[in-house]
């Protein structure tokens, strides 16, 4: 099914998310191209971006885009890896409008910058908040809030 995607773009890795969702790893510079292709290409029609989530795997960040196609009733996941320091990638809010807040959330909680994002600022946390709490190396400043009883 995903043959022409593999032809057109450089797929670094491919694996399967439970239950049976194909996940493709692409390089960060390709991400808008891949999503645009998957959205518009008649053999996929991934018309909905379910969500974007980031993941901190100690050495680098992983951003996963979960796409859904109403036409073919299937899902796909596109994953891209970003380096830990100065993580930045292209915004996809021009392709899927709901990515706007998703990317703001990732910026807020992980500190990943999205280039060309219309309104990149903190969303869940207050503007005065320091740090990005979902990073694994994040330490609470307030002693009382830390889970330190063990």
């Amino acid at each position: 099914m995903f043959e022409d995607l593999k032809e057109k773009f450089d797929i670094i890795k491919e694996d399967i998310m439970v239950p049976d969702i194909k996940r493709f790893y692409v390089s960060a510079k390709n991400i808008t191209g891949v999503l645009n292709f998957l959205k518009l290409s008649p053999s996929y029609f991934f018309n909905r971006l379910d969500c974007i989530y980031a993941k901190d795997i100690k050495t680098e960040f992983e951003i996963t885009y979960i796409l859904h196609s109403d036409n073919y009733q299937n899902k796909a996941a596109i994953c891209t890896k970003l380096e830990y320091d100065n993580a930045r990638t292209e915004s996809v809010s021009g392709i899927y409008k709901n990515a706007n807040w998703d990317e703001r959330e990732i910026y807020d909680l992980f500190g990943i910058t999205f280039i060309n994002h219309p309104d990149l600022k903190r969303i869940l946390l207050p503007d005065s908040f320091k740090g990005h709490p979902l990073r694994k190396n994040y330490k609470m400043e307030d002693e009382r809030l830390r889970w330190n009883y063990e």
């Binding site: 998310m17 439970v18 239950p19 969702i21 996940r23 018309n47 909905r48 971006l49 379910d50 969500c51 989530y53 993941k55 901190d56 795997i57 996963t64 979960i66 109403d70 009733q73 899902k75 996941a77 899927y96 409008k97 709901n98 706007n100 807040w101 909680l109 903190r122 969303i123 869940l124 946390l125 207050p126 709490p133 979902l134 889970w147």
Partner: protein, 371 residues
Amino acid sequence: MNSVNTNIMEINIGPQHPSTHGVLRLKVTLEGEKILNIEPVIGYLHRGMEKMAENRNYIQYLPVVDRIDYLSGFFCSYAYVNAVELLMNIEIPIKAKYIRTLTMEMNRIMSHLLWLGCYLLDLGATSPLFYAFIEREKLMDILEDLTGARMMYNYYTFGGVKKDIPVDILKRIYDFAKHFPSSVKEYEDLISDNPIFTSRTMKTGILAKETAEQFSITGANLRASGAAKDLRKDSPYLIYNLLDFNIPVKQTGDSYCRYITRINEMKESNKIILQCLDRLLTDENDNEINLKLNPLSIKPEGEVISEVESSRGLMQCIISADGSSNPLRIKWRTPSFYAAQLLNTIAKNHLLPDLMAVFGSLDIIMPEVDR
């Protein structure tokens, strides 16, 4: 002296405001009473649900999950429990599936009833709130006797449900389900044709199908725009493929359609409840409800997407596990988060009173937006 633009007024609605359903803040730009721009500001109810998961093992996180959407906690609970079950590759007993379906549909009715009452309260009518809450109270009492709590159920567990449903509770649910359509009829009599209600809701907040798809809107909001998309039909989970129910769809996508869709959805949920009760009441020998897993032995590995059609739309729980006792990362995809984003698009160029009518009709609930 600087010239001040006296036509345009910026007004803050919320975070403490009677009709923002919790703590949403809207920065609204008005010209007269016409809305030029809305900027939703969220995060006042952020509890760090995703961060909490990293500090807890799987069984510790389970009671917390109900709090993501406290009006319909079973959906969150199911999404999480199902995600772990998928990772561990276990199949739950058939009776547990029925019980989960039953309780989730009860929860959907409860959530819609609360929405109905609060929406009409937003529009200024007081009585429907109480009528809806009277019915909701019956369901809450039933669920309290079943699970031990009124909203934070903590009833599902990995591999099934925690307790069997006693027959007397099934009978109470049956009584409720038999009586419920007449209550819905009453709400419809009171509200549906009322010219004041229709003039407030019809032709306001029109959400086109294309816009809904672009903004990843799901659930009743999408179905009111003419797309018959429901996860329960599209890729049935639990026992939904064995049940007979319809997906209510409306074409126009205005606030009124969303209201009608939700009313009809309650009727369909009621039908599902009756079907589940049929099976649960007839088959009394089947007592296996739980696989009895050791709670501390749950150490799955892999990455999973678990989906559920919650009362507000598509809810996803994405767990990325690394084989330790704590999950590496849990992502909650909550439908209200995307519906809140929609507000500026569909409520623009309306009048200030319409903002509340449109906002209420989207059924946004803040704990779900902020997590």
